[in-house]
Protein backbone atom coordinates (compact mmCIF):
# COMPACT_ATOMS: atom_id res chain seq x y z
CA UNK A 1 0.00 0.00 0.00
CA UNK A 2 2.83 2.41 0.81
CA UNK A 3 4.27 1.59 -2.62
CA UNK A 4 0.95 2.63 -4.12
CA UNK A 5 1.04 5.97 -2.33
CA UNK A 6 4.63 6.44 -3.54
CA UNK A 7 3.58 5.67 -7.10
CA UNK A 8 0.50 7.82 -7.31
CA UNK A 9 1.75 10.88 -5.47
CA UNK A 10 -0.47 13.93 -5.44
CA UNK A 11 1.63 15.71 -8.02
CA UNK A 12 1.43 12.72 -10.36
CA UNK A 13 -2.35 12.79 -10.12
CA UNK A 14 -2.38 16.54 -10.61
CA UNK A 15 -0.35 16.29 -13.84
CA UNK A 16 -2.61 13.42 -14.94
CA UNK A 17 -5.73 15.50 -14.40
CA UNK A 18 -4.30 18.77 -15.73
CA UNK A 19 -1.47 17.90 -18.10
CA UNK A 20 0.79 20.86 -18.86
CA UNK A 21 1.79 21.82 -22.41
CA UNK A 22 -0.91 19.44 -23.64
CA UNK A 23 -1.06 20.82 -27.15
CA UNK A 24 0.19 20.37 -30.64
CA UNK A 25 2.79 22.92 -31.74
CA UNK A 26 1.86 24.05 -35.23
CA UNK A 27 5.36 25.44 -35.80
CA UNK A 28 7.25 22.44 -34.39
CA UNK A 29 10.70 21.77 -35.81
CA UNK A 30 10.82 18.21 -34.49
CA UNK A 31 8.01 15.78 -33.82
CA UNK A 32 7.71 12.09 -33.06
CA UNK A 33 5.00 9.61 -32.15
CA UNK A 34 5.47 7.08 -29.37
CA UNK A 35 3.56 3.92 -28.70
CA UNK A 36 3.58 1.36 -25.93
CA UNK A 37 2.25 -1.86 -27.47
CA UNK A 38 1.76 -3.44 -24.04
CA UNK A 39 -0.99 -1.10 -22.91
CA UNK A 40 -1.83 0.91 -26.01
CA UNK A 41 -0.49 4.23 -24.74
CA UNK A 42 0.04 6.68 -27.58
CA UNK A 43 1.83 9.99 -27.46
CA UNK A 44 2.97 12.67 -29.87
CA UNK A 45 5.76 15.03 -28.84
CA UNK A 46 6.28 18.40 -30.54
CA UNK A 47 9.45 20.44 -30.17
CA UNK A 48 10.54 23.81 -31.35
CA UNK A 49 14.32 23.71 -31.33
CA UNK A 50 16.13 27.00 -31.95
CA UNK A 51 19.95 27.21 -31.94
CA UNK A 52 20.20 23.92 -30.07
CA UNK A 53 17.75 25.05 -27.39
CA UNK A 54 14.28 23.58 -26.82
CA UNK A 55 12.34 26.83 -27.05
CA UNK A 56 8.91 25.24 -26.83
CA UNK A 57 7.48 21.78 -26.32
CA UNK A 58 4.04 20.20 -26.35
CA UNK A 59 2.51 16.76 -26.31
CA UNK A 60 -0.76 15.02 -27.03
CA UNK A 61 -2.01 11.50 -26.67
CA UNK A 62 -3.77 8.98 -24.49
CA UNK A 63 -2.25 6.98 -21.70
CA UNK A 64 -2.28 5.94 -18.09
CA UNK A 65 -1.64 8.31 -15.20
CA UNK A 66 2.05 7.43 -15.13
CA UNK A 67 2.71 8.01 -18.81
CA UNK A 68 0.60 11.14 -18.99
CA UNK A 69 2.03 12.77 -15.87
CA UNK A 70 5.55 11.81 -16.90
CA UNK A 71 5.02 13.44 -20.29
CA UNK A 72 3.58 16.54 -18.68
CA UNK A 73 6.47 16.92 -16.25
CA UNK A 74 8.96 16.19 -19.00
CA UNK A 75 7.70 19.09 -21.08
CA UNK A 76 8.11 21.44 -18.14
CA UNK A 77 11.57 20.19 -17.31
CA UNK A 78 13.08 20.34 -20.82
CA UNK A 79 11.65 23.68 -21.89
CA UNK A 80 14.51 26.17 -22.20
CA UNK A 81 17.18 23.48 -21.94
CA UNK A 82 19.72 22.69 -24.63
CA UNK A 83 19.27 19.43 -26.53
CA UNK A 84 22.32 18.01 -24.73
CA UNK A 85 20.94 18.99 -21.33
CA UNK A 86 17.60 17.36 -22.15
CA UNK A 87 19.31 14.15 -23.21
CA UNK A 88 21.41 14.10 -20.05
CA UNK A 89 18.26 14.67 -18.00
CA UNK A 90 16.67 11.61 -19.62
CA UNK A 91 19.70 9.56 -18.57
CA UNK A 92 19.29 10.66 -14.95
CA UNK A 93 15.53 10.08 -15.07
CA UNK A 94 16.01 6.65 -16.60
CA UNK A 95 18.53 5.70 -13.93
CA UNK A 96 16.04 6.75 -11.24
CA UNK A 97 13.07 4.75 -12.53
CA UNK A 98 15.06 1.62 -13.40
CA UNK A 99 17.13 1.42 -10.20
CA UNK A 100 16.76 -1.26 -7.53
CA UNK A 101 14.01 -0.11 -5.13
CA UNK A 102 15.57 1.48 -2.08
CA UNK A 103 18.90 2.24 -3.77
CA UNK A 104 20.34 5.73 -4.22
CA UNK A 105 20.27 7.83 -7.35
CA UNK A 106 21.59 11.18 -8.50
CA UNK A 107 18.74 13.60 -7.93
CA UNK A 108 20.67 16.82 -8.53
CA UNK A 109 19.18 17.54 -11.94
CA UNK A 110 15.76 15.96 -11.54
CA UNK A 111 13.72 18.49 -9.58
CA UNK A 112 9.97 17.77 -9.84
CA UNK A 113 10.65 14.59 -11.84
CA UNK A 114 11.59 12.94 -8.56
CA UNK A 115 7.91 12.36 -7.77
CA UNK A 116 8.12 9.45 -10.21
CA UNK A 117 10.88 7.75 -8.22
CA UNK A 118 8.30 5.25 -6.86
CA UNK A 119 7.93 3.75 -10.33
CA UNK A 120 11.02 1.60 -9.74
CA UNK A 121 8.97 -0.59 -7.37
CA UNK A 122 6.60 -1.39 -10.26
CA UNK A 123 8.80 -2.90 -13.00
CA UNK A 124 5.90 -3.24 -15.44
CA UNK A 125 5.23 0.49 -15.21
CA UNK A 126 8.75 1.68 -16.10
CA UNK A 127 7.82 1.74 -19.76
CA UNK A 128 4.87 3.99 -18.98
CA UNK A 129 7.15 6.50 -17.27
CA UNK A 130 9.77 6.45 -20.01
CA UNK A 131 7.52 6.50 -23.11
CA UNK A 132 7.46 10.30 -23.41
CA UNK A 133 11.22 10.49 -22.99
CA UNK A 134 11.89 7.85 -25.63
CA UNK A 135 9.61 9.79 -27.95
CA UNK A 136 11.43 13.02 -27.17
CA UNK A 137 14.75 11.38 -28.00
CA UNK A 138 13.31 10.02 -31.25
CA UNK A 139 12.13 13.47 -32.27
CA UNK A 140 15.54 15.00 -31.49
CA UNK A 141 17.31 12.35 -33.53
CA UNK A 142 14.88 12.63 -36.41
CA UNK A 143 14.64 8.86 -36.35
CA UNK A 144 11.01 9.07 -37.36
CA UNK A 145 10.66 6.07 -39.68
CA UNK A 146 7.80 4.76 -37.54
CA UNK A 147 6.52 5.39 -34.07
CA UNK A 148 9.03 5.22 -31.22
CA UNK A 149 8.21 2.37 -28.91
CA UNK A 150 9.27 1.29 -25.49
CA UNK A 151 10.01 -2.21 -26.77
Amino acid sequence: MSDLVDLYQEMVLDHNNRPRNFQKLEDASNTADGYNPLCGDQISVYLKVEDGVIADVGFQGVGCAISKSSASMMTQSVKGKTVEEAEALFQDFHAMVTREPGSDYDSSSLGELEVLSGVCAFPNRIKCASLAWHTLTASLNHKQDGPATTE
Partner: protein, 410 residues
Protein backbone atom coordinates in the same frame (compact mmCIF):
# COMPACT_ATOMS: atom_id res chain seq x y z
CA UNK B 1 -37.46 -35.85 -8.26
CA UNK B 2 -33.71 -35.72 -7.81
CA UNK B 3 -32.05 -32.48 -6.87
CA UNK B 4 -29.09 -31.42 -8.91
CA UNK B 5 -25.89 -31.56 -6.85
CA UNK B 6 -24.64 -28.10 -5.90
CA UNK B 7 -21.41 -27.08 -7.59
CA UNK B 8 -18.89 -27.36 -4.75
CA UNK B 9 -16.47 -24.58 -5.64
CA UNK B 10 -14.46 -24.92 -2.42
CA UNK B 11 -13.72 -28.55 -3.26
CA UNK B 12 -12.78 -27.57 -6.81
CA UNK B 13 -10.42 -24.86 -5.57
CA UNK B 14 -8.44 -27.47 -3.62
CA UNK B 15 -7.53 -29.05 -6.96
CA UNK B 16 -5.60 -25.91 -8.00
CA UNK B 17 -2.49 -25.48 -5.81
CA UNK B 18 -1.72 -21.95 -7.06
CA UNK B 19 -4.99 -20.66 -5.61
CA UNK B 20 -3.43 -21.06 -2.16
CA UNK B 21 -0.72 -18.51 -2.75
CA UNK B 22 -0.60 -14.92 -1.68
CA UNK B 23 0.23 -11.92 -3.82
CA UNK B 24 1.47 -8.73 -2.14
CA UNK B 25 0.45 -10.22 1.20
CA UNK B 26 -3.13 -10.84 0.10
CA UNK B 27 -4.81 -14.08 -1.01
CA UNK B 28 -4.54 -14.38 -4.80
CA UNK B 29 -7.75 -13.46 -6.61
CA UNK B 30 -7.11 -14.78 -10.09
CA UNK B 31 -9.44 -13.15 -12.60
CA UNK B 32 -7.30 -13.40 -15.74
CA UNK B 33 -8.55 -16.73 -17.00
CA UNK B 34 -9.13 -15.52 -20.54
CA UNK B 35 -5.37 -14.94 -20.77
CA UNK B 36 -4.53 -18.33 -19.33
CA UNK B 37 -6.19 -20.63 -16.83
CA UNK B 38 -4.59 -22.18 -13.77
CA UNK B 39 -3.70 -25.88 -13.73
CA UNK B 40 -5.15 -28.58 -11.50
CA UNK B 41 -2.74 -30.81 -9.55
CA UNK B 42 -3.65 -33.76 -11.79
CA UNK B 43 -2.24 -31.95 -14.85
CA UNK B 44 0.92 -30.94 -12.98
CA UNK B 45 1.34 -34.53 -11.72
CA UNK B 46 0.89 -35.87 -15.23
CA UNK B 47 3.71 -33.70 -16.58
CA UNK B 48 5.98 -34.84 -13.75
CA UNK B 49 5.13 -38.51 -14.23
CA UNK B 50 5.63 -38.27 -17.99
CA UNK B 51 9.13 -36.85 -17.58
CA UNK B 52 10.07 -39.02 -14.61
CA UNK B 53 8.64 -42.33 -15.79
CA UNK B 54 7.95 -42.68 -19.51
CA UNK B 55 9.81 -39.92 -21.36
CA UNK B 56 10.60 -41.14 -24.90
CA UNK B 57 9.97 -40.07 -28.45
CA UNK B 58 6.65 -41.13 -29.97
CA UNK B 59 5.87 -43.26 -33.03
CA UNK B 60 9.53 -44.24 -33.26
CA UNK B 61 11.09 -46.87 -31.11
CA UNK B 62 10.18 -50.46 -30.55
CA UNK B 63 11.15 -50.10 -26.93
CA UNK B 64 8.72 -50.03 -24.03
CA UNK B 65 9.09 -46.37 -23.12
CA UNK B 66 8.39 -45.25 -26.66
CA UNK B 67 5.31 -47.44 -26.76
CA UNK B 68 4.05 -46.09 -23.46
CA UNK B 69 4.67 -42.48 -24.51
CA UNK B 70 2.93 -43.11 -27.83
CA UNK B 71 -0.07 -44.67 -26.09
CA UNK B 72 -0.39 -41.67 -23.79
CA UNK B 73 0.08 -39.20 -26.64
CA UNK B 74 -2.51 -40.88 -28.85
CA UNK B 75 -4.73 -41.40 -25.83
CA UNK B 76 -4.75 -37.63 -25.34
CA UNK B 77 -5.81 -37.17 -28.96
CA UNK B 78 -8.66 -39.55 -28.37
CA UNK B 79 -9.76 -37.66 -25.24
CA UNK B 80 -9.80 -34.39 -27.17
CA UNK B 81 -11.81 -36.01 -29.96
CA UNK B 82 -14.44 -37.05 -27.46
CA UNK B 83 -14.44 -33.65 -25.76
CA UNK B 84 -15.46 -31.85 -28.96
CA UNK B 85 -17.24 -34.84 -30.51
CA UNK B 86 -15.18 -35.06 -33.69
CA UNK B 87 -15.86 -38.12 -35.85
CA UNK B 88 -12.36 -39.56 -35.72
CA UNK B 89 -8.93 -39.04 -34.20
CA UNK B 90 -7.50 -38.31 -37.65
CA UNK B 91 -9.32 -34.98 -37.55
CA UNK B 92 -7.52 -33.87 -34.37
CA UNK B 93 -4.19 -32.19 -35.08
CA UNK B 94 -1.85 -31.17 -32.30
CA UNK B 95 -0.53 -27.63 -32.74
CA UNK B 96 1.25 -25.09 -30.55
CA UNK B 97 -2.03 -23.31 -29.91
CA UNK B 98 -4.94 -21.50 -31.52
CA UNK B 99 -2.62 -19.11 -33.36
CA UNK B 100 -0.75 -21.91 -35.08
CA UNK B 101 -4.02 -23.63 -36.00
CA UNK B 102 -5.30 -20.52 -37.76
CA UNK B 103 -1.98 -19.88 -39.49
CA UNK B 104 -1.95 -23.49 -40.65
CA UNK B 105 -5.33 -23.17 -42.34
CA UNK B 106 -4.51 -19.76 -43.82
CA UNK B 107 -1.27 -20.99 -45.37
CA UNK B 108 -2.65 -24.26 -46.74
CA UNK B 109 -6.35 -24.16 -47.57
CA UNK B 110 -6.22 -20.37 -47.71
CA UNK B 111 -3.50 -20.32 -50.34
CA UNK B 112 -5.27 -23.06 -52.30
CA UNK B 113 -8.78 -21.60 -52.22
CA UNK B 114 -8.36 -17.85 -52.18
CA UNK B 115 -7.44 -16.11 -55.43
CA UNK B 116 -6.76 -12.56 -56.51
CA UNK B 117 -9.81 -10.36 -55.89
CA UNK B 118 -11.43 -12.97 -53.63
CA UNK B 119 -12.55 -12.26 -50.10
CA UNK B 120 -12.09 -13.66 -46.59
CA UNK B 121 -14.67 -12.74 -43.96
CA UNK B 122 -13.77 -12.13 -40.31
CA UNK B 123 -15.49 -9.96 -37.69
CA UNK B 124 -14.81 -6.73 -35.84
CA UNK B 125 -14.27 -8.59 -32.55
CA UNK B 126 -11.48 -10.93 -33.65
CA UNK B 127 -8.29 -11.47 -31.69
CA UNK B 128 -5.22 -10.39 -33.65
CA UNK B 129 -4.49 -14.08 -34.18
CA UNK B 130 -7.66 -14.33 -36.26
CA UNK B 131 -6.94 -11.10 -38.14
CA UNK B 132 -3.28 -11.04 -39.05
CA UNK B 133 -2.96 -14.54 -40.62
CA UNK B 134 -5.79 -13.61 -43.01
CA UNK B 135 -4.34 -10.18 -43.66
CA UNK B 136 -1.03 -11.79 -44.57
CA UNK B 137 -2.81 -14.25 -46.85
CA UNK B 138 -4.77 -11.47 -48.55
CA UNK B 139 -1.58 -9.45 -49.08
CA UNK B 140 0.16 -12.47 -50.61
CA UNK B 141 -2.67 -13.21 -52.99
CA UNK B 142 -4.18 -9.80 -53.70
CA UNK B 143 -7.40 -10.76 -51.92
CA UNK B 144 -9.49 -8.65 -49.56
CA UNK B 145 -10.48 -8.92 -45.91
CA UNK B 146 -14.15 -8.23 -45.19
CA UNK B 147 -15.22 -7.45 -41.64
CA UNK B 148 -18.62 -8.20 -40.08
CA UNK B 149 -19.57 -5.14 -38.01
CA UNK B 150 -20.93 -5.27 -34.46
CA UNK B 151 -23.41 -3.22 -32.45
CA UNK B 152 -22.73 -1.22 -29.29
CA UNK B 153 -23.50 -4.24 -27.10
CA UNK B 154 -20.77 -6.17 -28.90
CA UNK B 155 -23.01 -8.45 -30.97
CA UNK B 156 -22.40 -9.38 -34.58
CA UNK B 157 -24.74 -7.79 -37.11
CA UNK B 158 -25.92 -10.97 -38.78
CA UNK B 159 -27.76 -9.11 -41.57
CA UNK B 160 -24.50 -7.44 -42.52
CA UNK B 161 -22.74 -10.81 -42.42
CA UNK B 162 -25.22 -12.25 -44.89
CA UNK B 163 -24.77 -9.25 -47.15
CA UNK B 164 -20.99 -9.70 -47.14
CA UNK B 165 -21.21 -13.26 -48.47
CA UNK B 166 -20.81 -13.36 -52.23
CA UNK B 167 -19.31 -15.58 -54.93
CA UNK B 168 -16.00 -13.89 -54.09
CA UNK B 169 -16.11 -15.17 -50.48
CA UNK B 170 -13.72 -18.09 -50.11
CA UNK B 171 -13.36 -18.46 -46.34
CA UNK B 172 -15.05 -17.32 -43.14
CA UNK B 173 -13.17 -17.22 -39.84
CA UNK B 174 -15.04 -16.08 -36.74
CA UNK B 175 -14.51 -16.20 -33.01
CA UNK B 176 -16.91 -18.39 -31.02
CA UNK B 177 -16.55 -16.52 -27.71
CA UNK B 178 -14.96 -13.07 -27.70
CA UNK B 179 -11.96 -12.74 -25.38
CA UNK B 180 -12.45 -9.00 -24.91
CA UNK B 181 -16.26 -8.81 -24.65
CA UNK B 182 -17.46 -12.26 -23.63
CA UNK B 183 -19.95 -12.32 -26.50
CA UNK B 184 -21.03 -15.82 -27.56
CA UNK B 185 -21.56 -15.63 -31.31
CA UNK B 186 -24.33 -17.58 -33.09
CA UNK B 187 -21.74 -19.79 -34.74
CA UNK B 188 -24.12 -22.51 -35.81
CA UNK B 189 -26.03 -19.97 -37.90
CA UNK B 190 -22.80 -18.44 -39.16
CA UNK B 191 -21.66 -21.85 -40.40
CA UNK B 192 -25.02 -22.74 -41.95
CA UNK B 193 -25.23 -19.46 -43.85
CA UNK B 194 -21.67 -19.79 -45.16
CA UNK B 195 -22.34 -23.36 -46.25
CA UNK B 196 -25.26 -22.17 -48.37
CA UNK B 197 -22.55 -20.41 -50.36
CA UNK B 198 -20.19 -23.41 -50.21
CA UNK B 199 -17.77 -21.46 -48.06
CA UNK B 200 -15.86 -23.29 -45.31
CA UNK B 201 -15.79 -21.81 -41.81
CA UNK B 202 -13.06 -21.79 -39.19
CA UNK B 203 -14.12 -21.11 -35.62
CA UNK B 204 -11.65 -19.61 -33.16
CA UNK B 205 -12.45 -21.66 -30.08
CA UNK B 206 -9.68 -20.36 -27.80
CA UNK B 207 -12.20 -19.00 -25.28
CA UNK B 208 -15.17 -21.28 -25.97
CA UNK B 209 -13.51 -24.69 -25.63
CA UNK B 210 -12.72 -24.10 -21.92
CA UNK B 211 -16.13 -22.68 -21.04
CA UNK B 212 -18.84 -24.13 -23.29
CA UNK B 213 -19.66 -27.69 -24.25
CA UNK B 214 -18.62 -27.90 -27.91
CA UNK B 215 -19.84 -30.39 -30.51
CA UNK B 216 -18.08 -29.78 -33.80
CA UNK B 217 -20.41 -32.11 -35.68
CA UNK B 218 -23.47 -30.30 -34.40
CA UNK B 219 -21.91 -26.91 -35.22
CA UNK B 220 -20.90 -28.38 -38.59
CA UNK B 221 -17.85 -26.07 -38.63
CA UNK B 222 -15.04 -27.01 -40.99
CA UNK B 223 -12.27 -26.08 -38.57
CA UNK B 224 -12.15 -25.44 -34.86
CA UNK B 225 -8.93 -24.16 -33.30
CA UNK B 226 -8.17 -23.89 -29.59
CA UNK B 227 -5.37 -23.84 -27.02
CA UNK B 228 -4.50 -26.20 -24.18
CA UNK B 229 -3.36 -23.57 -21.72
CA UNK B 230 -6.74 -21.84 -21.49
CA UNK B 231 -8.33 -25.26 -20.97
CA UNK B 232 -6.50 -25.93 -17.68
CA UNK B 233 -3.71 -27.68 -19.59
CA UNK B 234 -0.06 -26.81 -20.33
CA UNK B 235 1.16 -23.98 -22.56
CA UNK B 236 2.56 -24.71 -26.00
CA UNK B 237 -0.07 -27.25 -27.00
CA UNK B 238 -3.25 -26.69 -28.96
CA UNK B 239 -5.70 -28.39 -31.24
CA UNK B 240 -6.82 -27.85 -34.78
CA UNK B 241 -9.92 -29.84 -35.61
CA UNK B 242 -10.68 -30.11 -39.32
CA UNK B 243 -13.08 -32.15 -41.39
CA UNK B 244 -11.27 -35.07 -42.96
CA UNK B 245 -12.09 -34.25 -46.58
CA UNK B 246 -10.74 -30.73 -46.19
CA UNK B 247 -7.63 -31.80 -44.29
CA UNK B 248 -6.90 -34.37 -46.99
CA UNK B 249 -7.28 -31.80 -49.75
CA UNK B 250 -4.89 -29.42 -48.03
CA UNK B 251 -1.25 -28.97 -48.90
CA UNK B 252 1.30 -29.57 -46.16
CA UNK B 253 2.20 -26.87 -43.63
CA UNK B 254 5.54 -27.58 -41.96
CA UNK B 255 7.50 -30.52 -43.27
CA UNK B 256 10.09 -32.86 -41.79
CA UNK B 257 10.15 -35.92 -39.59
CA UNK B 258 6.98 -37.68 -38.46
CA UNK B 259 4.81 -36.22 -41.21
CA UNK B 260 6.24 -38.36 -44.02
CA UNK B 261 5.78 -41.92 -45.22
CA UNK B 262 8.82 -42.14 -47.42
CA UNK B 263 11.50 -39.79 -48.65
CA UNK B 264 13.86 -40.04 -51.59
CA UNK B 265 15.71 -37.10 -53.12
CA UNK B 266 13.25 -37.29 -55.99
CA UNK B 267 9.98 -37.53 -54.09
CA UNK B 268 8.38 -37.47 -50.65
CA UNK B 269 5.15 -39.21 -49.78
CA UNK B 270 3.38 -37.60 -46.89
CA UNK B 271 1.96 -39.44 -43.93
CA UNK B 272 -1.74 -39.98 -43.31
CA UNK B 273 -3.87 -37.69 -41.17
CA UNK B 274 -3.33 -36.35 -38.61
CA UNK B 275 0.47 -36.86 -38.84
CA UNK B 276 0.65 -35.07 -42.19
CA UNK B 277 0.35 -31.83 -40.19
CA UNK B 278 2.58 -32.79 -37.26
CA UNK B 279 6.13 -32.29 -38.48
CA UNK B 280 8.96 -32.88 -36.04
CA UNK B 281 8.93 -34.30 -32.55
CA UNK B 282 5.70 -32.96 -31.12
CA UNK B 283 5.06 -31.40 -27.72
CA UNK B 284 4.55 -34.84 -26.19
CA UNK B 285 4.39 -33.70 -22.56
CA UNK B 286 2.04 -30.89 -23.53
CA UNK B 287 -0.31 -33.24 -25.37
CA UNK B 288 -0.34 -35.72 -22.51
CA UNK B 289 -0.89 -32.88 -20.04
CA UNK B 290 -3.78 -31.67 -22.17
CA UNK B 291 -5.22 -35.18 -22.03
CA UNK B 292 -5.07 -34.99 -18.23
CA UNK B 293 -6.79 -31.58 -18.37
CA UNK B 294 -9.60 -33.09 -20.45
CA UNK B 295 -9.94 -35.89 -17.88
CA UNK B 296 -10.16 -33.26 -15.17
CA UNK B 297 -12.80 -31.25 -17.03
CA UNK B 298 -14.83 -34.41 -17.47
CA UNK B 299 -14.86 -34.97 -13.73
CA UNK B 300 -16.12 -31.40 -13.26
CA UNK B 301 -18.51 -31.51 -16.21
CA UNK B 302 -18.39 -28.60 -18.64
CA UNK B 303 -22.17 -28.21 -18.49
CA UNK B 304 -22.07 -27.86 -14.69
CA UNK B 305 -19.09 -25.53 -14.94
CA UNK B 306 -20.90 -23.44 -17.53
CA UNK B 307 -23.97 -23.13 -15.33
CA UNK B 308 -21.85 -22.08 -12.36
CA UNK B 309 -19.77 -19.60 -14.39
CA UNK B 310 -22.95 -18.12 -15.81
CA UNK B 311 -24.31 -17.57 -12.30
CA UNK B 312 -21.00 -15.95 -11.34
CA UNK B 313 -21.09 -13.70 -14.40
CA UNK B 314 -24.60 -12.58 -13.56
CA UNK B 315 -23.56 -11.81 -9.99
CA UNK B 316 -20.46 -9.95 -11.19
CA UNK B 317 -22.44 -7.96 -13.75
CA UNK B 318 -24.97 -6.92 -11.11
CA UNK B 319 -22.26 -5.96 -8.63
CA UNK B 320 -20.22 -3.95 -11.13
CA UNK B 321 -23.30 -2.15 -12.36
CA UNK B 322 -23.87 -0.76 -8.87
CA UNK B 323 -20.56 1.11 -9.05
CA UNK B 324 -20.92 4.74 -10.08
CA UNK B 325 -18.50 5.74 -12.83
CA UNK B 326 -18.07 2.17 -14.09
CA UNK B 327 -19.03 1.28 -17.65
CA UNK B 328 -19.20 -2.29 -18.92
CA UNK B 329 -17.89 -2.87 -22.43
CA UNK B 330 -19.57 -5.93 -23.90
CA UNK B 331 -23.19 -6.29 -22.92
CA UNK B 332 -24.34 -8.95 -25.37
CA UNK B 333 -27.39 -11.01 -24.51
CA UNK B 334 -25.41 -14.21 -24.88
CA UNK B 335 -22.25 -13.85 -22.85
CA UNK B 336 -19.79 -15.94 -20.95
CA UNK B 337 -17.23 -15.24 -18.26
CA UNK B 338 -15.84 -11.82 -19.24
CA UNK B 339 -16.32 -8.50 -17.44
CA UNK B 340 -14.60 -5.79 -19.46
CA UNK B 341 -14.97 -2.35 -17.94
CA UNK B 342 -13.86 1.26 -17.84
CA UNK B 343 -13.68 3.55 -14.81
CA UNK B 344 -14.42 7.19 -15.42
CA UNK B 345 -11.22 9.23 -15.46
CA UNK B 346 -8.90 6.31 -14.68
CA UNK B 347 -6.83 4.52 -17.28
CA UNK B 348 -7.19 0.69 -17.25
CA UNK B 349 -3.46 0.28 -16.72
CA UNK B 350 -3.69 2.21 -13.45
CA UNK B 351 -6.67 0.09 -12.39
CA UNK B 352 -4.58 -3.03 -12.97
CA UNK B 353 -1.73 -1.73 -10.83
CA UNK B 354 -3.99 -0.78 -7.92
CA UNK B 355 -5.84 -4.12 -8.06
CA UNK B 356 -2.53 -6.00 -8.14
CA UNK B 357 -1.59 -4.42 -4.82
CA UNK B 358 -4.80 -6.01 -3.50
CA UNK B 359 -3.76 -9.43 -4.81
CA UNK B 360 -6.25 -9.24 -7.69
CA UNK B 361 -5.01 -10.31 -11.12
CA UNK B 362 -6.91 -8.87 -14.07
CA UNK B 363 -5.84 -8.00 -17.60
CA UNK B 364 -5.63 -4.44 -18.77
CA UNK B 365 -4.98 -3.25 -22.29
CA UNK B 366 -6.34 -3.91 -25.73
CA UNK B 367 -6.53 -7.70 -25.26
CA UNK B 368 -4.96 -8.21 -28.71
CA UNK B 369 -8.14 -6.81 -30.22
CA UNK B 370 -7.04 -3.36 -31.38
CA UNK B 371 -9.66 -3.10 -34.16
CA UNK B 372 -12.32 -3.78 -31.53
CA UNK B 373 -10.94 -1.04 -29.28
CA UNK B 374 -11.00 1.29 -32.29
CA UNK B 375 -14.67 0.36 -32.84
CA UNK B 376 -15.50 1.46 -29.30
CA UNK B 377 -13.07 4.42 -29.59
CA UNK B 378 -11.23 3.42 -26.44
CA UNK B 379 -7.53 2.65 -25.99
CA UNK B 380 -8.03 -0.24 -23.59
CA UNK B 381 -10.27 -1.85 -21.01
CA UNK B 382 -9.80 -3.52 -17.67
CA UNK B 383 -10.96 -7.12 -17.93
CA UNK B 384 -11.87 -9.60 -15.23
CA UNK B 385 -12.37 -13.07 -16.73
CA UNK B 386 -13.85 -15.96 -14.81
CA UNK B 387 -13.32 -19.68 -14.41
CA UNK B 388 -15.28 -22.27 -12.45
CA UNK B 389 -12.88 -22.00 -9.50
CA UNK B 390 -13.73 -18.34 -8.93
CA UNK B 391 -16.16 -17.37 -6.19
CA UNK B 392 -18.65 -14.66 -5.35
CA UNK B 393 -16.29 -13.61 -2.56
CA UNK B 394 -13.66 -12.93 -5.24
CA UNK B 395 -16.14 -10.79 -7.16
CA UNK B 396 -16.71 -8.90 -3.91
CA UNK B 397 -12.93 -8.44 -3.59
CA UNK B 398 -12.88 -7.05 -7.12
CA UNK B 399 -15.64 -4.60 -6.29
CA UNK B 400 -13.77 -3.51 -3.18
CA UNK B 401 -10.59 -3.14 -5.23
CA UNK B 402 -12.41 -0.92 -7.70
CA UNK B 403 -13.64 1.32 -4.88
CA UNK B 404 -10.05 1.42 -3.62
CA UNK B 405 -8.92 2.48 -7.11
CA UNK B 406 -11.38 5.37 -7.08
CA UNK B 407 -10.02 6.36 -3.65
CA UNK B 408 -6.42 6.43 -4.87
CA UNK B 409 -7.42 8.66 -7.78
CA UNK B 410 -9.87 10.87 -5.89
Amino acid sequence: MTTKPVFDVEAVRKDFPILNREVQGKPLVYLDNAATSQKPQSVIDKLVSYYSEINANVHRGVHTLSQEATDEYEGARSKVRKLINAKEEAEIIFTRGTTEGINLVAQTLGVQRVGEGDEVIISNMEHHSNVVPWQVLCDQIGAHLRVVPINDDGELLMDEYEKLLSPRTKLVSIVHLSNALGTINPVKDIVAIAHQHDVPVLLDGAQSAPHLPVDVQDLDCDFYAFSGHKLYGPTGIGILYGKRELLESMSVYQTGGEQIKSVTFEKTIYNDLPYKFEAGTPNIAGAIGLGAAVDYINTIGLDRAEAYESELLQYGTEQLQTIEGLKLIGTAQHKSGVLSFLLEGIHPHDIGTVLDTQGIAIRTGHHCTQPLMQRFQIPATARASLAFYNTKAEIDALVEGIHKTFEVFS
